[in-house]
Symmetry: C2
Subunit: 184 residues, 2 copies
Amino acid sequence: MTNVDSTSGDIVASLGHLTLGSRLKRLGERLQGETTRFIQAQGIDLPSSWFPLLAALDRGEATVGELAEALGVSQPGVTRSVANLAGIGLVQVATGDADRRRRTVRLTGEGAALVERARRELWPRIDAAVAEACAGLEGSLLEQVGVLERRLDEVPIDRRAAAVATVPPVPPAPMAPVTAGSRP
Amino acid sequence: MTNVDSTSGDIVASLGHLTLGSRLKRLGERLQGETTRFIQAQGIDLPSSWFPLLAALDRGEATVGELAEALGVSQPGVTRSVANLAGIGLVQVATGDADRRRRTVRLTGEGAALVERARRELWPRIDAAVAEACAGLEGSLLEQVGVLERRLDEVPIDRRAAAVATVPPVPPAPMAPVTAGSRP
DNA sequence: TGCGATTAGATAACAGGTTATATAACCTGT
DNA sequence: ACAGGTTATATAACCTGTTATCTAATCGCA
């Protein structure tokens, strides 16, 4: 169970924007952790942080660099995630034949099946739960962060997701392969 | 230099609230990193993440548990930070005499001097820089996060802090908010 | 044709957050 | 008075993000 409670950070609050970085990081970790807990409760033992990569690959194969660009994370981060996913057989990696520096990543059958299932059973409920927690937030970023922290103290994401009554419809099927957006 | 740019996360955006956790975490890390860069440029070699703890201690000594509670971080996190700060002589730790399980942390002279200097020279500018980056953000949390990511792509916190023209007056002991500048 | 610059990815090291668990001190009830 | 539960802290292990740097492949061009 979560042991840290946000209802008492008067010092943090008094420091205002000085601590925004740390607060955002913690809040993000909390969301990830609670989401992962929900996923596990659904019988899938995979950290929530791997799903964006899987979702990206569900649009089609991509190189490491393209994934980093598309997901907005650093290249070493992608390299490590891909290694993890490959290690459990959800993706497979091939060295490019035209340019042998490139490594092309694609979902395996198992990976595609998992994405399919997650898209149907997991993501809509997670999305709904987070959306619910964020619903009606107003004011400055700092204020919204504070309110969200308190709301999660009351009901964490996994409980919200578990309580989603009617599972919303599947989000529309993806289409285009991953392209690294226009170079700025 | 920063290599990740937020202007292309179309996949991330399409996943909506599913990736909010990861985005918040990255955004927080980015704020911390850029702030630390500014602090270093000012000749102080200390990660920005340690300042909340120092600020808390500037209000008076406290135990590990009280600090965790006040800062909203986990107890092991405080233990580690305190060990780091003690290692460089900014705080000192004493075993409680009434209850010998408790460990009371307080600033050393050097630590207090550093806080004093930071309060004068650093924090107002950091606060102003972050406030400026966040100024006028509107809409849902998700939208605000997106806009903030893009603003930081344009001008990172350390550049904003370095550009703060007139250093605002020293905030009194419980810090007063530093008012933000106008939107870019 | 070959050499220097650039690019893609891998690797290593670090940061700062977490959870789980171990340890030691304290408290309480019989 | 002591056995057992509770509490405060420490320790260990892990996760996922980062930067910095190394290697190998490709490209550009004299």
